[in-house]
Amino acid sequence: MIRDRLPPQPREWIDRGRTIDFQFEGGSCTGFAGDCISSALWASGVRMLGRSFKYHRPRGIYSLANHDVNDVVEDGVTTNIRADVTQICSGASYQAVNTFGGLKKDSARHIEHLSRMLPVGFYYKAFHTPRKLFPYWERKMRAMAGLGAINPKLPRARTPKDYDFCDVLVVGAGPAGLSASIAAAETGASVLVVDENLHPGGTLGYQWNSDASAARRFAQLMGKISSMPNVWIRTATEAAGLYADNWVALIDSVRLTKLRAGAVIVAAGCFEQPAVFKNNDLPGVMLASAAQRLIARYAVKPFQRGIVLVANSDGYCAAQDLLRAGVQLAAIVDLRKSPESPELVQPFNAARVPIFQQHAIYQARHASGKQGIIGAVICPIDDAGKTVTERAFKLECDGIAVSVGWMPADGLINQAGGKMKYSEQLHQYLPESLPEKVFAAGRVNGVYHLEAQLADGRRAGLAAAAAVGRNNGPVPEQARHEGPSPNHPYPVFPHPKGKAFVDLDEDVQYKDIVNAVQEGFDSIELIKRYTTIGMGPSQGKLANMNGVRILAKTRHQTVTQTGTTTSRPFYHPVPFGHLAGRSFHPHRLTAMHSRHQKAGAQFMPAGAWHRPAYYPAAGQGRDDAILAEVKTVRQGVGLIDVGTLGKIEVCGPDAAEFLERLYTGRFAKMRPGTTRYLLMCDESGVVIDDGVAGRLAEDRFYVTATTTGADAVYREMQRWAIIWGSSVTLANVTGQYAAMNLAGPYSRSILANLTDIKLDQDAFPYLGIREGVVAGAPARLMRVGFVGELGYEIHVPSQFGGHVWDRIMQQGAGFGIKPFGVEAQRILRLEKGHIIIGQDTDGLSSPYEAGMDWAVKMDKPFFVGQRSLQIIQKRPLQRALVGFTLPTDYAGPIPKECHLVIRGDQITGRVTSVAFSPSLNRVLGLAYVAKDQSGLGTKFTIRVDGRKEVEAEVVKTPFYDPDSRRQSETVEKPREAAA
């Protein structure tokens, strides 16, 4: 830990009072609290922290800012841990990803020797033939690809996801961002500042590490902010994406925050850009800003003897920081003819550090196993920027710091719809136009001097406050960069042998881009897809700019002519767990749910509802349980929870007329106390719902709808009521009422003891509706016959549901009452030939196809869908829903719902419902068949599983009790054992 640890730095992030022990690749390591994994390892002298994606080349610290994926580890629970920005945890055991056999002995490291066989786009060209070997190669490729492995056996981590709001969001807590937040907050705006780093300050914390005036500035800014109650800073939080209306996705270690900001200020700074030369990826070669981060944040010496490759004054500042950190500088290699200021070189002259102007690094010389570097090859460059290799010379070093330019972190601006334009003067993209309420500040605007950044931040803050109505005062003009450009226009120095990387994530080399252009992939978007440049986890933060420059130069274009790729969310990869959040799955339970649980019900989903499918007795299988429930209802009495049915009250002077217009039947002349089946079509004449309308009073109907259709029916009612101007009052009372259907020959006997409503046939005939009290609760009773037995649908306010269910079950105990579920109900209704909307109808079914002509009163003046049905009526039917049976002695495979009806090589229909009927002791069902197959007695063929064919016969429905005597009349038998 102490090998390369420096004395305390002014604003270091580590806590030297707390040491943390952890493991890396099986070896013991120690760091300080606050160390990131990479810094702790680097301080311990570990230089190889990872392996590259394609060639498995050794990699070390490069940006130390999560702008590359050289250093990605996993800990057995979490993968894709970015070692550059993740703090060490006590006891953690980290492994580098993308290795086979460990980091040092990675067996895939030999792939690099095959690199000639793996040129750019090789996977588009190879492995397609012979075709039978493709699955083999596919498995191999999949095994090789990817960074890290997900352990699917780990329990799911439920992450919170939340919403937040502010007037002004400032992305970036560097000098411009902090200045902007103060200016906006001073107007009274609520300001949220987010920064992906663990601590605020941005470049103030490492680029001006040894500048006392910058330190004072930072202290002033933070002091001011801490005194402002309307400014919040969220560190370790990235603005991952910016969407419409300034909806910003904020990601921290545990959560996704959906932030709605009035205005957004992008003060996200810049990514320092690499230079392209041979072996520019090996451990020891790093960005100068990475070296500064190591020194300032973690007090770690980047290397012992280094070379600094510069093209701007920032590089000289970095070189000074290295000198102060005790690094012996072998040389400063400046790509330019001269530095912008003579003062820059004075400290190095004093320290006798050689400075080579208009020189470049041509090659980093690697150590054994490429696990570090031992020197560099330096070349002069001519006025065209080309290396003069004849005059190359070598210098020894174990580290190279690169400072050749910057690229704005402009992803959010692009996502917001802003336009960036390449400045030929500054050699970087600058905002050309910004969307309303989106602002840029600081280095994103090409403003590099500290005081200018602060001023630009203040301007952006005032402008943002004005945009949200908080500032009526003047907004200053935007500051501009003065002086030479800090960005070199082409820091690329190819080598005829060896690898010079443009994209470290994807191992894309200089020659890959040149070759791709030669193959005809000559636009930036094609280059991206073909070479995969910019497609790695870093999304081209360090690669895109040089990629565009190389393409432009190869094609003899300008950067502007070449263009750039589209910037999409997310800024960094976001774990799926963050996106999923808690995964809310709202579900509905009926008032009797706990009763069903106690009765051992097996539940099934019905829309959002959980409904009992069946109630198996101990040791009883599914089918036996269902058949027993059917038998109980037919021969005794059963109780089913139908609380999931849609329930809507239609009230008002136009209530009857409203139903006449909405449904296909007639309702105007219904007497109070009666019910009637209702069928709903859409405007194209397709059946969309059904139910029952019970007339409670002249101006009040109680309407039921299907379980899954209730909300849609209610919405349709509201829509039509407005369109027609109907004087109706509507209320969706689905959840307000519990409902149960007491069905079977003994239902009346049981109910009679629980209600004050007269139940005899004359007082309460079939299809009647009554209001009264059941088991002490206010109730509505309907005599309906969905299951084809004497039955009462009992509706009570839902808070009474449990009580009434209990009382009925108690009262029915002596009658052998049993609860029955949806599966038994499906068989019972099928025996009666009753259709289920959505199962026996589809998105095209007209009432005529479904055999529901009787429910459609075409002679009414109007109803929804009537005009379409008038047209449909005139056309010959193409298909019809029929009842069918299989022979009573049939013993083959039973058709299933959706099995096809086949005639020759034609599909003429499909089975919609099918079951074995215990009441009739045979298989029966409903199916769509061709119209000419629908005649009674017609035989048709159903293709079942295994391509076997079964012959079925069209029969009349109802299959059971065709005269409906059981449900409409008293067929009750006395029961001696009645309680």
Binding site: L589, G776, G802
Partner: protein, 222 residues
Amino acid sequence: MTTASRQSPMHDALEHLHPRWGQVNGMSAVASFADPQHESALCRTLALADVSALPRTLLKGPQAAAWIQRQGLSVPPKIYAHEAIPGGGLLIRTGAAEFFAEGAVSGDAVERLAGEGATLPDGVYSFPRQDAAMLLSGEKSFDVLAQTCGYNFRQPEMDFIMSRIAGVSCSILREDRDRAPLFHIWCDASYGTYLWETLLEISREAGGDAVGMSCFFPTAIK
């Protein structure tokens, strides 16, 4: 006459928390789960209570406002405005001709509004409201709502809204008490268990917990 016992939509979820039960309007209601002083303190930080036992009704129809006035109550002047019912309770205007009323643990204002024991005049219709009703209380209630709803509950003008909490359509009213935020949350009874368990889980993660009705109606729970 109603003699049956009522049950909260969250009854089973509450039962698992081993509460001390009381009675409110014929319904078993949780008086408390823990020490009353502890629960009182929770109410200032973060607490969730089931208040489904309170009586409720929905009045609709072109004459609903006039009917309310005739009962001696103030009619909320605009949609989403609310008025206190004398003696306890709330009357919220949820539409041009739609009013939601919730009573207190005592009194019969809601029953009178619903026309129980009388005939409602033409143009006034009452419908039962069997909502799952909860109170979310305390400074950290904002954190719970921020994790479940996309509405900005911190904005000063927040009063009554209809939105989705954890994916469930809810009505939410802010009515601070003793300078602590207090949110009434109503949803369809069938979603009650789900919503209760979801809010309680998040509340517990934030240091809150379930409390009984006694926290809010100290003398009225029998």
